[in-house]
Structure formats: structure tokens, C-alpha cells
């Protein structure tokens, strides 16, 4: 038994089996339970250590060989596996309420496996190929066969595919930089290649136009899942570069570049979010701003520690899940998701409305909600580095907050007094209630995540200080 089999091959097999399940409820329960089980195994089963169960002794090896290379999931990666599969369980249990379980769970498990493989593959540069494979699997998820493929999915495919060659080629150039560190032109070339690769993969300004388009044309829940998982893994992949190459980590130009790009994402995402008239597009711009938060946290992580980056991951996943679920529920009332068509819907979908508003407020860093502690910590860290950056950070947050308030105004704006009706079904109510409670719980007790989050930076050698 080895760890890559448990957390890469097994989920693919489970995903393949889930393809054969037809019933939405069965698929959601099966997929969610399996993900939870994989998260539980990662939590309790030590990797590369013998586990004694009475007369039996069980040891899970960290390494598996594959076509002459190795896949390594060591003990230091276990907390990340707990987080990934734990959050997947949340998304998969909620998939039934969003009505996409039979599509999301099989393909979602395969995508998750490929992305876990991208963390495990050695040398880590080859991760971009596995990320590309995950992107290819994501296309049928985003564009069901019965619907015309939109421009968003085509641009998603183009941009993500173009990112891969840049990263692979940058990896080759970086090897040259290691061999001759004084070669300035090679250093610049490799940095530019790397930057372009990540700009495509992370949808950095101005390459993010596919995100709003996708959220207009595809299921918000499915897009939300990808917008949670892909940037999370790509940011960790990017941090591997910082961890591996000291000159990248210590380069003031690279750190400043990351900070500027992060602020650009946050400010443009926040400001565009403030002026949207479409709930899906609003979510898109807030997720763009979320990528900005991650980049800012990475820029601070290079100088200090990666703790801050990991502090963002769980609240981000939770708020995106609630947001996407709420939008999926509201979409059953009106598919266009325009402000004008959903005006006053709070009276018929009060829980979905509450989920939508609280998730947006959490993303804006509103106190008492899950997003508040990491945003406050990031703001504090940023203010130590640059006051101007802290001010721009505030501008981005205000943009998201204005978007949330406009959304609230539209959703509760009813022309005449009409009765309150709960149109959400029992599953939807249950999932939304759990999610909303989770948002408050993580806002009030952020230290509850400590045992998992504190261990995550240990997967890096130099960024874990």
C-alpha cells in the first residue's frame, strides 16, 4: 500500500464507479462519504510509519514509481490532503442540493486526483501537465452535452492550455539559472516565462475574462468548485517554485511583482464586483479578488512564512461553496441570474439569499465571518510592508462590500408586501444552514482550524519557517 495509490488512483477509481450511479442522492452520498473517508484516512493514518492494529502492522509508503519518475505524498502533505478531500466532501454533499451531483462528483473526483498527483509528482515541474489534464477533464463538467459550448469554456481551455508550455519551458530555463546563477539574461527569461505561465493558469489580469463568462453560461456550483480547487493547487504549485529556488524567493523584484499583481487582481476584482448587475458575474469578480488575496499572501510568505496562505484556503472554499450553492438554488427560479429578474426574491428564497449575502460579506472580510481573520492578518502584514499597499487593499475590500450591499438591496427590494415562503427543499435548507453556521463558527473560532493549518507549511522546506 502506498500514499499515491490511496489519494490519487483510488479517487479516480471511485470517480469512475460514480459515473455509473444514476440517482443524484445516491451519487452525492457516495461521493461525499468517500471524500470524507479519504480525508479521515489522511488524518489518522501515518505515512511512512508502521501502524500497529493488534497483531497486524500496516505501513503506507510515501512513494510510488511511475514511468521512471516518482509520485511522493509524504507525511508533511497529509494535512493538505485532509483539507482537499474534506472540502471536496463538503462540495459533493452539497452537489445534490445544487442538482449537479451526477456530473460533478465523478468528474470532480478525477480532477481532484489529477491535481493531487500534480502536488506529488517529482520533479514538480511536470505538475503543469497534470494540471492540464485536469483542465481537459473539467471541460465536460462545464459544458454539458445538451448545451451549446459557450465562449467562456473555450477561453478557459485556451488560456489554461497556453499556460502549460510556459511553465515547462520555464522549468528548463530555471535549471540553467541554477547552473549559472550569474547569467542575468537567462534569469530574466526564466522569470518572464514563469510569470506568463502562472498568469495564464491563475487567470491574472487581464487574462481573467473567461471567469465572468463561465459563470454566466455554466452551472455556478460546478464553476465554483473549479474556481476553488484550481487556484488552490496552482498557488501551492507556485509556492513550490519559491521554495525550490532561493533566488526567486529572495528577489525583491519577484516579491514586489507578486504584490502589485495581487493588488491589481484585488482592486480590479473588487471594483468590478461593485458595479455588476448579474449575480454570477459578481461572484466571478469576487473570486478574481480572492486570487488577489492569495497572491498577496504568497508575496508575504516568501519573506516570512507560508502560514498566511494556508489560513485563506478553508474559509475561501467554504464561502465559495455557500455562494455557489445559493446561486444554483436561485438559478432554478430564473436562469439568467440578472439583478432585474431576481429582485425581491429574498421573500421566497430566504436561506439562499442569506447564504449569498453572508458568503459575499465573508469575502469582503466582514467581522464575525470566516473570511475576517485571514484578511485582517494579511492587511496587518501588508501594512508592515507598505502603507500604500494597505490602502489599495482597503479599496478592494470596499469594492466587494459595495457589491454585497447592492446585492442585498436588490434581493430584499419587493414592490409590495408579499408573504415569506421557504421554497428551498429540505436538502438545500440543511446544506445552507450547515454552511452558514460554518461561516460564523470559523469567524468566531478561527483557532479551530489550527491543528490542520499549522502543519500545512511543513510541506515546504524553506517557506515553513
Amino acid at each position: 500500500m502506498n500514499a499515491p495509490f490511496l489519494w490519487i488512483i483510488l479517487p479516480i477509481l471511485i470517480g469512475g464507479f460514480a459515473l455509473m450511479l444514476i440517482n443524484e442522492h445516491t451519487t452525492a452520498i457516495f461521493g461525499g462519504s468517500m471524500s470524507l473517508l479519504l480525508a479521515g484516512i489522511a488524518l489518522v493514518l501515518p505515512i511512512d510509519e508502521a501502524l500497529r492494529l493488534g497483531p497486524l502492522s500496516l505501513k503506507v509508503a510515501s512513494t510510488a514509481s511511475f514511468l521512471g519518475r516518482t509520485l511522493v505524498l509524504s507525511a508533511s502533505e497529509a494535512p493538505l490532503l485532509v483539507m482537499i478531500f474534506g472540502m471536496c466532501a463538503l462540495w459533493f454533499f452539497g452537489a445534490e442540493a445544487a442538482g449537479v451531483a451526477s456530473r460533478l462528483i465523478p468528474l470532480g473526483l478525477i480532477i481532484t486526483s489529477l491535481l493531487v498527483a500534480s502536488i506529488a509528482v517529482q520533479p514538480f515541474l511536470f505538475a503543469s501537465l497534470l494540471i492540464e489534464m485536469a483542465v481537459l477533464v473539467a471541460v465536460p463538467l462545464l459544458s454539458p452535452l445538451e448545451r451549446r459550448p459557450g465562449q467562456g469554456v473555450i477561453r478557459f481551455l485556451i488560456y489554461q492550455t497556453l499556460g502549460m508550455p510556459f511553465i515547462l519551458f520555464a522549468g528548463w530555463l530555471l535549471a540553467g539559472v541554477e547552473a549559472s546563477p550569474g547569467d542575468l539574461s537567462l534569469t530574466i527569461q526564466s522569470t518572464v516565462m514563469l510569470g506568463l505561465g502562472f498568469a495564464f493558469l491563475l487567470a491574472i489580469f487581464p487574462l481573467y475574462n473567461w471567469i465572468p463568462q463561465l459563470l454566466e453560461e455554466s452551472s455556478p456550483y460546478v464553476v465554483g468548485f473549479l474556481l476553488w480547487l484550481l487556484p488552490t493547487i496552482i498557488v501551492i504549485f507556485g509556492m513550490s517554485f519559491l521554495d525550490r529556488y532561493a533566488w526567486l524567493r529572495t528577489s525583491s523584484e519577484v516579491i514586489s511583482g507578486l504584490r502589485v499583481v495581487g493588488l491589481l487582481m484585488l482592486v480590479t476584482g473588487g471594483l468590478w464586483a461593485a458595479f455588476q448587475r448579474h449575480f454570477g458575474r459578481l461572484m466571478a469578480y469576487v473570486t478574481i479578488a480572492e486570487t488577489g488575496f492569495l497572491l498577496l499572501a504568497v508575496s508575504l510568505a516568501a519573506g516570512t512564512s507560508a502560514d498566511l496562505v494556508f489560513l485563506f484556503l478553508i474559509p475561501r472554499g467554504l464561502s465559495l461553496a455557500i455562494w455557489a450553492l445559493s446561486l444554483s438554488i436561485l438559478r432554478t427560479s430564473d436562469e439568467s441570474l440578472r439583478f432585474s429578474s431576481l429582485q425581491g426574491i429574498a421573500r421566497t428564497y430566504p436561506l439562499a439569499t442569506a447564504g449569498l449575502i453572508l458568503a459575499t460579506l465573508s469575502n469582503a472580510g466582514f467581522p464575525l465571518l470566516a473570511g475576517f481573520p485571514p484578511r485582517l492578518a494579511l492587511w496587518e502584514g501588508l501594512a508592515h510592508e507598505s502603507i500604500a499597499a494597505a490602502v489599495w487593499y482597503l479599496v478592494g475590500l470596499i469594492g466587494i462590500l459595495v457589491g454585497a450591499l447592492r446585492m442585498l438591496a436588490v434581493l430584499v427590494m419587493e414592490k409590495e408586501e408579499s408573504p415569506w415562503i421557504l421554497k428551498e427543499n429540505l436538502v438545500q435548507r440543511g446544506m445552507l444552514a450547515i454552511g452558514i453556521l460554518g461561516l460564523f463558527f470559523l469567524g468566531l473560532f478561527p483557532q479551530a482550524l489550527g491543528p490542520v493549518i499549522e502543519q500545512m507549511p511543513l510541506m515546504f522546506t524553506h517557506l515553513s519557517r
Binding site: F66, L67, G68, R69, V121, F126, L129, L130, E132, M133, L136, V137, V139, P140, S143, P144, L145, E146, R147, R148, P149, Q151, V153, I154, L157, I158, T161, L162, M164, P165, L168, F169, W172
Partner: protein
């Protein structure tokens, strides 16, 4: 002598096929050109990889082409819609290909000098394919054109990357990506049929 000429012959194949793929709008010709393009690509890849691995690239390319071909045969007869943003005349497309050819001819010697051991034909093939692939992507949003463009860009990259990385895992993953792009293209084209778009 023949061995020295073979890579340049492959570049000639790539010039003809990639140009034809960009200029032509009939899917039967396009698929034929794409299949022949993969022959040129695998000859260029074989300059640095063993013949077996280069042949795998050829087979994978043909499989991706076959997947697209099977979908095209199921399509009802249709005219490719015209993009409004860019001029789409044959003359304009010729001009754009000409620009890429000029760029390839002017940049190849310089790059061959700065990347010793890779060889001018490999670099020429790379620049040409990536350039024309990007032209596909930049001038059309048709699913078929986008997939042809992505496959062409990827082929160009693979030629150069084969010169610097000989890992079997990379070869296998790149083959999966090529095949995956073909299958995704077929899936998206099918989606257009089901939705009654074509």
C-alpha cells in the same frame, strides 16, 4: 546527406500543412493536413528522441485527428460562420501566414545560435507551428479552429521540448494531453450538434 536533409524536409511538410490548415476551411482537407502535420512533427521530434517515442507522438496525433474526424462525419453539412471582428479573406490570412514565415526565417538563425545543440530545423518548426497556432486562436472562436490552433501550438512546443527533456513520463503525459485535446474538441463539437447549433 539524406539524414541532414530530412529535418528540413519535415520543416517543409510543416510549412505546407500548417499554412494549408490555416487557409483552408473544409474539414476534410483540414484533417488530412493535420495528420500530415503530425508526420512532420514526429520527424522533427525524432531528431532528439528515439524513433519509438517519436512514433508514439505520430500515433497520438493521428488518434486525436481520428477522434475529430469521427465527430466531423456526424455533423450535418454546414458553412463555417464568419467572424466579424477580424478580416477573414484569403488574402488577409495569406498575409498573416507570410508574417509568421518572415518571423521564422529571421529569428531561427539567432535562436539556433543562442540554443546550441537543438538545431535550426527544430527551432524553425517550433516558431512556425506556435506562430500559426496562435493565429488560429487569435482569429477565430470556432470550436474546430480553436482545437486545430491548440494542437498546432502544442505540436510546436513539443518539438522544442523534446530537444531539452527526454523523460518517458513527459512523453506519456504530453501524448495524453494531445489525445485529450482531440477528445475534448470532439466532445465540444458534439455539444454543438446536440444543441442544434450547427
Amino acid at each position: 546527406m539524406l539524414a541532414a536533409l530530412l529535418p528540413w524536409f519535415a520543416v517543409l511538410i510543416v510549412v505546407i500543412t500548417s499554412t494549408g490548415l490555416f487557409l483552408n476551411r473544409d474539414w476534410r482537407w483540414d484533417l488530412g493536413l493535420l495528420a500530415v502535420q503530425y508526420l512532420g512533427v514526429s520527424i522533427l521530434v525524432a531528431q532528439h528522441w528515439p524513433l519509438g517515442m517519436a512514433a508514439a507522438k505520430l500515433v497520438t496525433g493521428w488518434m486525436a485527428t481520428a477522434a475529430l474526424g469521427m465527430t466531423f462525419t456526424a455533423l450535418p453539412p454546414h458553412e463555417e460562420s464568419i467572424e466579424r471582428i477580424w478580416p477573414q479573406g484569403l488574402g488577409f490570412r495569406f498575409f498573416m501566414v507570410g508574417m509568421i514565415l518572415v518571423l521564422t526565417i529571421s529569428v531561427t538563425p539567432r535562436m539556433a545560435g543562442s540554443m546550441p545543440g537543438i538545431g535550426a530545423p527544430v527551432i524553425a518548426g517550433t516558431i512556425l507551428l506556435i506562430g500559426i497556432g496562435l493565429l488560429h486562436l487569435g482569429t477565430s472562436s470556432q470550436i474546430a479552429r480553436v482545437i486545430f490552433g491548440l494542437l498546432t501550438v502544442l505540436s510546436g512546443f513539443e518539438i522544442l521540448y523534446a530537444a531539452v527533456e527526454g523523460s518517458i513520463l513527459v512523453a506519456a503525459l504530453l501524448a495524453v494531453v494531445t489525445l485529450g485535446l482531440g477528445l475534448v474538441g470532439a466532445y465540444l463539437l458534439n455539444g454543438s450538434i446536440v444543441a442544434g447549433d450547427l
